[in-house]
């Protein structure tokens, strides 16, 4: 569609407040040959119970229905893999369902879980996501990922998903980056930042101390994207426990943290970017139609929306999410973000889709230093830090788990538990990873509200998960 009706633009409404009570995750790695997927899921659920000082058996007693995010049956070579995990977690005879929306699977799993609680069907649910991408070599893995593109029209063209993003990178670079080397360097900064933050994260798969030049000299995958511009292929699991208010209070009675309010919005756009027709830019609360009148003049070639430079799905997910939670301006209202940095370019595109910067000006979020934990220009805290986990580039992209890992990361900041979880020497040891000498506490101080963006395909599905400290809501009836 290129025009949206009033009914379609209705702000979604949850029937009751919904809470994220706890979450957990496994170690993430390119390969984890010593464990079956169910072992990783047990690790995640055990951690979630531990976070609120409960045993898994006690926590399980509260769970009433289960939502499983697992994208790629063909990777794991097990159809109905959700049932295997459900059985091994010992959660029969509860109702359960599998959710798959490509890269957004984790976010979509939370979307389903939140709706199940909001509707009153369940008071407490499990949202668990995982992916196992080590059961085939990388070439075959790239082939399997490319199967998520249109199999008649796109996949045969190289069987490489990075290529489908690279055309966007090229267009964005030429139109909004005005072909400047400085823009290419800004993209590289994102990779440096995310691999760098991953160094402080024991769960992360790709910690690296690198420079912009390292990124620019890394092998080309699909020009202009290079190896270090791209997300990881991963193995791992993450889960969240979502509850109504009464259950949330009960479960956190002896917990070091309080439950957080949670909202999830979801949007979509055509699977094939080729099908995307020109339309008016749907506006977020911090934008006006006037500001885009001369977009094509300021950025020649930039007047086609969303063309190959924007993600309508992300914009719509933000529109619904902000509407539900009362966010007027993400820069003012949110304290921390986890974005779906599948590629450095899509990270920049997303800044604009979610209104962190206006369309055309995404690079400024990096160049201003706002996106950092500590602004490199001023030495002061970044205005709206993003991807402290290391994101998909530095931490992991175990597809079904990704959106849940991001949400957990945002929650750890709001709970003020980031250092406790990431700095724990025992955990580093258990994961056979070396804690760096210069390990740094990246807790975003005083964080009360945050958001995680989960994104699929070349923008085919996107979710916005918004978390808030219940004592710092933006609107009463949210």
């Amino acid at each position: 569609m290129i025009k949206f009706s009033e009914q379609q633009l209705k702000i979604p409404r949850l029937m009751k407040p919904v809470y994220l009570v706890t979450a957990g995750q496994s170690k993430f790695g390119r390969a984890i040959p010593e464990k079956r997927t169910e072992e990783l899921c047990v690790d995640a659920l055990t951690m979630a119970a531990d976070m609120i000082n409960m045993s898994p058996a006690e926590l399980k007693k509260y769970i009433h229905s289960c939502y499983y995010g697992h994208f790629a049956d063909h990777f794991g070579d097990q159809l109905l893999g959700e049932a295997v995990i459900h059985d091994r977690l010992g959660l029969d005879p509860l109702g359960n369902i599998g959710i798959k929306t490509g890269g957004a699977t984790g976010g979509s799993t939370l979307w389903e879980a939140v709706k199940a609680v909001a509707s009153g069907y369940s008071d407490c649910v499990l949202a668990m996501g995982w992916e196992r991408m080590d059961e085939v070599p990388t070439d075959e893995g790239n082939f399997l990922i490319s199967c998520a593109a249109d199999k008649d029209w796109e996949s045969p063209l190289g069987h490489i998903y990075t290529g489908y993003y690279a055309v966007m990178a090229q267009k964005y670079w030429q139109v909004f980056g005005k072909s400047e080397d400085s823009f290419r360097k800004t993209l590289a900064e994102i990779s440096v930042k995310h691999h760098g933050y991953a160094r402080m994260n024991p769960f992360a798969q790709s910690p690296m101390k690198i420079t912009v030049d390292d990124v620019l000299n890394s092998p080309v995958v699909a020009f202009p994207l290079r190896v270090l511009d791209c997300c990881l292929m991963s193995v791992g699991a993450a889960c969240a426990i979502i509850c109504d208010e009464d259950t949330a209070m009960k479960l956190t009675k002896d917990s070091p943290h309080k439950p957080l309010r949670i909202w999830v919005g979801a949007g979509s756009h055509t699977l094939r970017p080729a099908d995307r027709r020109d339309m008016d830019i749907p506006l977020l609360p911090n934008e006006t139609a006037d500001q885009y009148k001369d977009l094509g003049k300021r950025f020649p070639g930039g007047d086609r929306y969303p063309g190959f430079t924007g993600f309508l799905g992300a914009r719509i997910a933000a529109y619904y999410g902000y509407g539900m939670a009362g966010v007027k301006d993400p820069n003012e209202d949110l304290d921390v973000l986890e974005l779906h940095d599948a590629f450095t370019i899509s990270d920049v595109q997303t800044y604009e889709d979610i209104g962190v910067r206006p369309y055309g000006e995404g690079r400024d979020y990096v160049e201003s230093g706002d996106c950092y934990h500590t602004n490199p220009n001023t030495g002061k805290p970044g205005r709206l830090p993003s991807n402290i986990s290391g994101g998909l580039i530095g931490c992991m992209h175990a597809v079904g788990a990704t959106g849940i890992m991001q949400t957990f990361e945002v929650a750890m900041h709001i709970w003020n538990r980031w250092a406790e979880i990431h700095g724990d020497d025992k955990r580093w040891k258990e994961f056979s990873r070396e804690k760096p000498e210069d390990w740094t506490d990246l807790q975003v101080k005083g964080a009360k509200r945050g958001m995680a963006i989960s994104h699929a395909g070349v923008g085919s599905h996107v979710t916005s998960t918004i978390l808030m400290d219940p004592d710092h809501l933006l609107k009463k009836d949210a």
Partner: protein, 196 residues
């Protein structure tokens, strides 16, 4: 030597011939760091699928005949009547009416322009295109969408004029039968099997 799996349809039924799967033995996976203890097994699988094009079949047949087909919504009640779709879309995205098939070969020869592109040094398994692959996304006058394809000759640039070429000799009946070259390219310079 086994026979590749083959299919034709008669009386609305699949008639199949040849092998649709190949047996390869599985192998143990052992731990070289710990006394070669068993950790897992390989699971070989090689299978041929039967895939039908349905209403898109004319598009793929036409490529081998040197024609580029598109579709257009002609539904007088459609809010967006006249929308032209390339990729070929069987039903209108707005009204879901059955689109009219149109031949846009001439339009493509005169108005095709590179909207964006990329050069792909790597590929996934089963790729059959020569590397580097030059992906191009192509816009046409009067067409509402932007087609993804690949450039066979020259270096792509945004705004570059291109013309379609078709694998008319031994077509594969896939999207790979359609490619593009810079406008003005001579017939004798085309890749084997392709014609203007």
């Amino acid at each position: 030597m086994s026979l590749f799996g083959q299919v034709h349809v008669k009386n609305k039924k699949y008639k199949i011939k040849g092998d649709f799967h190949h047996l390869t033995p599985n192998m143990p996976i052992r731990n070289a760091d710990d006394g070669w203890k068993l950790m897992g097994v390989t699971n070989p699988r090689d299978m041929t699928y039967i895939h039908m094009y349905g209403g898109e079949a004319p598009f793929f047949e036409a490529l081998g005949e040197g024609k580029l087909l598109a579709t257009r919504c002609d539904n007088p009640d459609c809010e967006f009547k006249g929308t032209v779709y390339q990729p070929f879309r069987i039903h209108c995205a707005d009204c879901l009416g059955r689109n009219t098939v149109i031949d846009m070969t001439e339009n493509a020869k005169t108005t095709a322009t590179v909207h964006t592109f990329m050069v792909c040094e790597r590929s996934g398994a089963f790729n059959v295109l020569d590397k580097p692959i030059k992906f191009i996304n192509i816009e046409f006058e009067g067409v509402d969408t932007i087609l993804m394809s690949y450039l066979s000759i020259g270096e792509p640039e945004i705004g570059m004029k291109v013309v379609p070429i078709f694998r008319t000799k031994n077509p594969t009946y896939t999207i790979l039968d359609l490619s593009w070259v810079p406008a003005g390219t001579k017939a004798e310079d085309l890749p084997e099997g392709f014609s203007l």
